[in-house]
Symmetry: C2
Subunit: 419 residues, 2 copies
C-alpha cells in the first residue's frame, strides 16, 4: 500500500468528461489500497481567460491582485473533481492553497513554497480520504494568495509529495512519458523507461516542456520519484502503483542509482525561442563583460549562452550571447543605451537560431562525446555559432534552418533511434 | 466625510467596461473624501456557468464542494476591480471572504453570517484604501468556504456595513430604485424616494426582486440605511454621498421615522412563481392540518398562504395552500403518500395563479384598506381565491390571467399612479 501524489494538468481536466477520466485513474489507485493526494491545474483555457481579463483591466496590474484572480481556476477543478470522486463512492475533499496551507514567500507571480504544514492532510489521507489540492497556488506571509508561475502545478505536486513523504508522484499529462527527443521532429524517438533527475533537469531547462524545471529541481533535492505518464491511457487497464513495479506506464524520473543501464546520451532537447545578440568589435579590455551584462541583469533580462572570441587585432573582439526571443527588443534597447560606454561598432540581433542540447550523465565517464558531435555536424555542413557545456550536457547554437537535420543526425549518432 | 459600503451586482460588473464604470462611481466617492468598502458579485453569467459544471459533475453534489466552486466567480471580479481602481490612482485591495474573515455558520449553500472581525479592514479604510470584498461568501467554523444563497452579495454588503458601522450602504443595480410596482406592468409606476424597512421586507418577500429578503431583514435589525440606485447612471454627474443629502439618486430604505409623509399604501408586489394545492374533501377533524403540513415541512417544502373553509356538511372541508411552483410536483408526491391518513378525495395542483400584495405601513392606522381592495376587484369581476394579511400587507391569490388588471386597478385605487 503506497502513499501517492497524482497530478493532472490543464488538458487532463479540460472538461467534465476528462475530469471523470482522471477520477477513474484515482479510483483505480484507491481501490488498490493506496492513499492519494491529487493536485490539479485549472481547466485548459481558463487560466488564459483570467490572464486576458487581468491584462484588459490594466497592463500594469498589481501582482497581488493578479495572483488572487489567476489562482481561481484551480479552485473550480479541485471542487469538481472532488464531487466526481464522491459520486463514484470515493471519499474526497478539495483543498485550496491557503487551507492546507501551502506557505510560500511573498514573490507574487513566481512564489517559492517555503513549508507545507500537513498534519491534518496526512491524517485524512490515512483514513482513506482523497485530498484534491488546487495546484499553482499558495498563501504568502501576509495572508494573500500567491501563485508559483506558469506550470506551477508540477511544483505544487512535488512539494506536496515531499511534505507528506509520498512513495511516488505521478504526473499525468498529455504525453505518455519522456522521449529521447521530440517525436514530432524525430519519428524514431523512443520513450525512456527511466531518466535521472540531473538529466531531466537539463532536458527541462534546455527546452523539453513536459515538466516545469523548478519541479524537477525540487524532486531532485527531496528525492521525490516522479512518474510522467499519460492521463489518456484507459484507467482500468493500467496496473495500479505497486511500488518498484516496472510495468507502470510512462517514464520514471529518479535517482541515477535506480538506473541500471546508463546510456552515454539519454536525450536531445532543443529550444527555438532563443535569440542571438552579437556586439561587433567591442573593445577588448578588462571589465567590458561586466559593463555589458550588468545593465542586462538590472533590466531583468536572462542571458543564456555567452561566447567571446579571441580578438584578431588585439584591440577589439566580437561578443555573442543569447536571450529569450521575447526579450530581444528590450535587450537591444538596453545595449543601445550603453553603446558609447562599451564602444562597439554594431549591435546585431537575430531570431533565426536554435539551441540544440545533447544530455546524458554517461558523459561524465566518457570522453570524446563533444568531438563526435562536432564532427557529425561538420559532415552535414552545419555551422556551430556557439557552444556551452556542463558536466552532463553540450549545447550548441545553430541556424534554425538546420534544426531538424541536426537533431536527427545527433539522435542517430548516439544510438537513440528506436527499433 | 462618510464611511460608505457600495455593492455592485453581476450585471454591474459583467465585463471590463462595466467594471471601469463601477470604478468611476467609487472614485467619485473617494475623491469626495469618503472611505469606501465595496462588495462585488461575480460577472453576470459566471455563477451560472459554475453551477452548471457542478450539476454536470454530479446531480447530488456535496454542498461543501459546491460552495468552494461557486464562490470563485466573486474572487475574479474583486481582483479585477481592485486592479482597475489602482490604475485610476485609487488605492485598493481585494479581500476574499476568508481573508477578512466573514465568519458564517456551517449551513453550506445558505450560510448565515455570524461575525465579521474587521479591525484590519477598518484600519485600512481609515487610511484611504478601498476594500474590494468578494460578496456571496464566507468561511465556516471548519475553515471551509460557505456561500450565502442566491443574491447573497446584498447580504454581504449589509453585513459589512453593519460591521464597519457604515453611514450608508449603496446597492448599485440594474434598476434605478424601488418602484410603487413593476413599471413593466404599470407604466404609471413611480419611483419611491424613501421606503421603510418593514415595507421593503414585505415587498421583497412578496415578489419584488431588487433586494434579497435576508439583506433587508439584516439592514432592519442593524439599522443600516440602504440606498438602491442604478449603476448605469453616469458616475460623474451623480452628487457624491453627502450624508442626509436628498439629491442622491435612487430609493433610500430606512427607518420609518425618516419618512416624513407616510402613504397608506406604498407599493404593490406580485409573485407569479407560486402554485396552488387544493385538498378536496379532507376529513374535518382536529389534527388534520398537522398531518398535512408536518410531512411537507419534513420534506423542506415551504408553504406560503393557507386557506381552510368552514365545511358544508360538517364532516369534510377543502384545504388550499401555496408553494413555490418548482416545488409543486414534490409537494403532490408527498401528499399522495399520506393520502390515506388525511383521507381526502382529490389532490389538485395548479400553477395558473398569481399572488398580489398591497403593502404600506399606513395600514396600521387606516381602516378599510382591505374592504376597498375587495370591492374594487369585485367590480372588475376578479375572483379572490385566497387571502392572507399581516399588519402592513394584504395578499390575495387570483387567476394568473387577471394579474395585470388587478395590479393596475389597485395601483390606481391607492393613488400610486405618477403624474
Amino acid at each position: 500500500m503506497a502513499l501517492l501524489v497524482m497530478k493532472f494538468g490543464g488538458t487532463s481536466v479540460a472538461d467534465l468528461d476528462k475530469i471523470r477520466h482522471a477520477a477513474a485513474h484515482i479510483k483505480r489507485e484507491v481501490d488498490a489500497g493506496n492513499s492519494c493526494a491529487v493536485v490539479v491545474s485549472a481547466m485548459a483555457g481558463q487560466t488564459n481567460q483570467l490572464i486576458a481579463w487581468t491584462r484588459e483591466a490594466s497592463p500594469l496590474h498589481d501582482a497581488r491582485e493578479y495572483d488572487a484572480i489567476v489562482s481561481s481556476g484551480e479552485l473550480v477543478t479541485a471542487g469538481l473533481l472532488a464531487i466526481v470522486l464522491q459520486s463514484m463512492n470515493v471519499p474526497a475533499r478539495s483543498w485550496q492553497g491557503w487551507q492546507i496551507p501551502i506557505q510560500t514567500n511573498e514573490v507574487h507571480g513566481a512564489a517559492r513554497i517555503m513549508e507545507i504544514p500537513c498534519e491534518d492532510l496526512k491524517e485524512r489521507l490515512g483514513r482513506g480520504e482523497v485530498a484534491v489540492i488546487a495546484g499553482f497556488q499558495g498563501v504568502g506571509p501576509d495572508n494573500r494568495i500567491t501563485t508559483l508561475g506558469r506550470g506551477g502545478s508540477d511544483t505544487s505536486a512535488v512539494a506536496v509529495a515531499a511534505a507528506v513523504g509520498a512513495d511516488r508522484c505521478d504526473i499525468y499529462t498529455d504525453v505518455d512519458g519522456i522521449y529521447t527527443t521530440d517525436p514530432r521532429v524525430v519519428p524514431a524517438a523512443r520513450r525512456l523507461d527511466r531518466i535521472s533527475y540531473e538529466e531531466m533537469l537539463e532536458m527541462a531547462s534546455q527546452g523539453a516542456k513536459v515538466l516545469q524545471t523548478r519541479s524537477v529541481e525540487m524532486a531532485m533535492v527531496h528525492r521525490v520519484r516522479l512518474q510522467v505518464r499519460s492521463s489518456f491511457d484507459p484507467p482500468e487497464s493500467c496496473p495500479s502503483a505497486t511500488l518498484g513495479s516496472n510495468n507502470v506506464p510512462g517514464t520514471l524520473v529518479c535517482d541515477e542509482e535506480e538506473i541500471v543501464e546508463q546510456q552515454v546520451v539519454s536525450g536531445i532537447a532543443y529550444a527555438k525561442d532563443e535569440a542571438k545578440v552579437t556586439l561587433v568589435k567591442v573593445e577588448d579590455k578588462p571589465g567590458v563583460a561586466a559593463r555589458v551584462f550588468g545593465p542586462l541583469a538590472d533590466a531583468n533580462i536572462n542571458v543564456d549562452m555567452i561566447v567571446q572570441n579571441v580578438s584578431d587585432d588585439g584591440r577589439t573582439t566580437d561578443l555573442t550571447f543569447t536571450v529569450q526571443d521575447t526579450e530581444l527588443d528590450r535587450a537591444i534597447k538596453v545595449l543601445e543605451g550603453i553603446r558609447d560606454e562599451i564602444g562597439c561598432e554594431t549591435i546585431n540581433g537575430a531570431t533565426d537560431i536554435v539551441k540544440v542540447s545533447v544530455i546524458g550523465i554517461g558523459m561524465r565517464s566518457h570522453a570524446g562525446v563533444a568531438a563526435k558531435m562536432f564532427q557529425a555536424l561538420a559532415e552535414k555542413g552545419i555551422n556551430i555559432q556557439a557552444i556551452s557545456t556542463s558536466e552532463i550536457k553540450i549545447s550548441i547554437l545553430i541556424d534554425a534552418a538546420y534544426a531538424e537535420l541536426a537533431i536527427r543526425t545527433l539522435h542517430s549518432l548516439y544510438g537513440l533511434d528506436g527499433a
